[in-house]
């Protein structure tokens, strides 16, 4: 018998009861998906998305400055391609040499999506072409990095991660202006741009803060230890939305006159401080997983405590904590929707203004579904990246790849 059929029979129809259950579930699944497809392709009116695509993407970002965001997207695509290629090429050098590696499903999916999505969304042809060029750039650099990355001098390879903060600074410059670029104030950032900005700002900064808090919690200095514990437990006990409101109202009092940042930045800082407490707990569980003997071995070799932590304990702890840290990052990304409640025009806030527009009344399902898919794409990308990183950091992976 065909192995697929045998497998199906084993999984779905092993006993009469199993068969009955399977048939019922398949029936529900089938009717549900036909109903959905029917809605999506004949009843739904996607014009609401097409007409507002720029608004969803960028908010009210000035049109004549939008080239800056295209440039930034190109930089990000390039960075993603390089990072992806480097991660793939290590430790499995065997697959990296080919432009189109066999059964590389993720790249295939990405290519398909990037070709189909701009078209399906009905974007203008020049914009479609740009998206295609961007995904081509990403895949090309992925190949180049996979091909030539392993041959780079190790010193250069160690410098590569520093590109990330640099990229961030360049990105902030491009978005906000300065150094000769016309300023675009945060109040004009919106949509996916604002969502991703908030999330990436918080992710980048909560990481070092979380590590410091986790170390503080294990410190021998009582003041440091109790400070960290109280901070972590307080933040984890309070709902994010209350902290966001608190941040909008209180940062003004707490910081000396004029120092209180703009609303968008206030929200970003609250998100960061919030995420840091959760991240600290993830890092703490990673630290607990590193046996005491590791520090002892490092110390007996003469390493100072900071040296032992940074070269021996932390790398192992972060490797253990990585999956739960990425889980935190993913929920952080989703939590940015709460910003709409304090009046920021991120994705959900934009969506609500669009739905309030009389021209698009009653198109909630289309809008919310689009939002859900957008968020899902971002979270899936985070998850895939983290799994690649995990493999890269797993010494045992070298065994599996031979």
């Amino acid at each position: 018998m065909n192995p697929l059929l045998r497998r199906l029979r084993q999984d779905l129809f092993a006993t009469p009861a199993d068969s009955l259950l399977s048939i019922a579930l398949l029936a529900i699944l089938a009717s549900g998906s036909t109903a959905f497809l029917h809605w999506a392709f004949s009843r739904a009116q996607w014009a609401v998305i097409q007409a507002n695509s720029t608004l969803f993407a960028l908010g009210r970002y000035p049109i004549e400055q939008q080239w800056r965001l295209w440039l930034l997207t190109a930089l990000l695509a390039a960075a993603a391609g390089i990072g992806w290629g480097m991660l793939r090429s290590h430790p499995r050098t065997d697959r990296s040499g080919r432009l189109w590696p066999a059964n590389d499903r993720i790249a295939a999916l990405l290519l398909l999506l990037s070709l189909a999505l701009p078209w399906a969304l009905g974007l203008a042809l020049p914009i479609q072409l740009r998206w295609w060029a961007l995904s081509g750039l990403l895949l090309l650099l992925r190949w180049l990095a996979g091909r030539f990355g392993p041959g780079l001098p190790p010193a250069l390879k160690r410098l590569l991660p520093l590109g990330l903060p640099l990229l961030y600074l360049i990105g902030m410059l491009l978005i906000g202006g300065g150094l000769g670029l016309a300023p675009v104030p945060p109040s004009e950032w919106g949509g996916l741009l604002l969502t991703l900005l908030q999330a990436s700002f918080a992710i980048l900064l909560c990481f070092p803060l979380g590590v410091l808090l986790a170390l503080g919690r294990r410190s021998d200095l009582p003041l440091l230890r109790w400070g960290s514990v109280i901070y972590i437990e307080f933040i984890r006990g309070a709902p994010l939305i209350t902290l966001l409101f608190l941040g909008q109202n209180m940062l003004g009092f707490l910081l000396p006159g004029g120092m209180a940042p703009e609303r968008v930045w206030r929200a970003a800082w609250v998100l960061t401080l919030f995420a840091a407490a959760y991240l600290a707990e993830a890092v703490r569980s990673g630290l607990a997983a590193v046996p005491r003997g590791q520090v002892e071995a490092a110390r007996s070799l003469g390493l100072s405590l900071p040296q032992a932590f940074s070269t021996v304990v932390l790398p192992q702890a972060l490797r253990v904590a990585l999956p739960s840290m990425v889980g935190q990052f993913i929920s952080l990304l989703q939590d940015t929707t709460l910003l709409s409640l304090i009046g920021l025009m991120e994705l959900l806030g934009t969506a609500r203004t669009v739905m309030a527009n009389p021209a698009f009344l009653g198109k909630n399902a289309e809008v919310y579904l689009t939002l859900a898919v957008l968020f899902w794409c971002c979270c899936a990308a985070l998850g895939l990246g983290s799994r690649a990183l995990e493999r890269r950091l797993d010494p045992a992976a070298v065994v599996r790849s031979g």
């Binding site: 046996p291 003997g293 590791q294 002892e296 071995a297 490092a298 110390r299 007996s300 070799l301 003469g302 390493l303 100072s304 040296q307 070269t311 021996v312 790398p315 192992q316 490797r319 950091l393 010494p395 045992a396 070298v398 065994v399």
Partner: protein
């Protein structure tokens, strides 16, 4: 091997005394109040191999771990290569550079390759050029018989190989003293010999070794002196022949009855 003498102000020239380790009346209480060391005295001479034996829980690990300040102690004095052990952190760092340790559980760094396990400390602590350390590390791996494994990770090696890497890692810091805490106790029987052979080989050098072990054959062949510890104190110190054939203390006799 000249590096260690130039990089440390506490060279053998500065400390002409034949005593490498001198412990006087060392007492230790664990934070839970347990009195683990009860006034231990012991001296170890330069280049000597001392084997410490004794029943489980007698304080052997606690004692040798005081030599490189992995454990503190409350009373008494310990001098290592002329440096008194105190709470002065700089002195502790100086001592740790001169004292290597091999653990029962190997404690290799699992996220680093074998070669990186060896080179980490010399580069980071002694600030030696990486290329030079790599060369030395490869030579050491060859010496302990695992030159081909340099680029593997610890998790890919057998227990015996891991322990030999751990020995090479300690040697790469060019210590004057090597402490072994039951280096073969976590090993399958067929791997014990390969590790003991490496240690025997080392003993022929002028490095000072303090070895906690239950391997009687090793003690008889390699040790200059055997120390018996029981209930947190040294019961007997003797040459191996005397210790194993005709111990002076009743406590030693009882211990030998149990293990022989």
């Amino acid at each position: 091997m000249s590096q260690s003498t130039t990089s440390s102000s506490y060279s053998s020239a500065a400390n002409p005394s034949p005593l490498m380790i001198e412990a006087r009346g060392v007492e230790k209480w664990y934070p839970n109040g347990y009195h683990a060391l009860r006034g231990v005295d012991l001296t170890v001479n330069r280049g000597e191999v001392v084997v410490i034996m004794g029943p489980s829980g007698s304080g052997k690990s606690t004692f040798i771990r005081t030599f490189n300040a992995l454990e503190d102690f409350q009373k008494g004095q310990i001098t290592v290569d002329g440096i008194p052990l105190s709470n002065d952190l700089r002195q502790i760092d100086a001592i740790r550079r001169e004292v290597g340790m091999v653990f029962q559980q190997f404690n290799l760094f699992p996220h680093l390759s074998v070669l990186d396990n060896l080179t980490l400390a010399p580069v980071l602590v002694r600030k030696r050029p990486k290329a030079e350390v790599v060369e030395q590390a490869r030579a050491l791996l060859k010496r302990v018989g695992i030159a081909e494994q340099a680029d593997k990770y610890p998790g890919q090696l057998s227990g015996g190989q891991q322990q030999r890497v751990a020995i090479a890692r300690a040697l790469c810091m060019e210590p004057r003293i090597l402490l072994f805490d039951e280096p073969t106790s976590a090993l399958d029987p067929e791997m014990v010999r390969e590790v003991l052979e490496v240690m025997q080989n080392l003993a022929a050098d002028d490095i000072t070794m303090v070895v906690v072990t239950h391997e009687v054959k090793f003690a008889r062949q390699v040790a200059d002196r055997v120390v018996l510890m029981a209930e947190g104190d040294v019961v007997e110190v003797a040459e191996p022949e005397q210790f194993f054939t005709n111990p002076r203390q009743e406590r030693s006799r009882r211990f030998l009855d149990q293990i022989l």
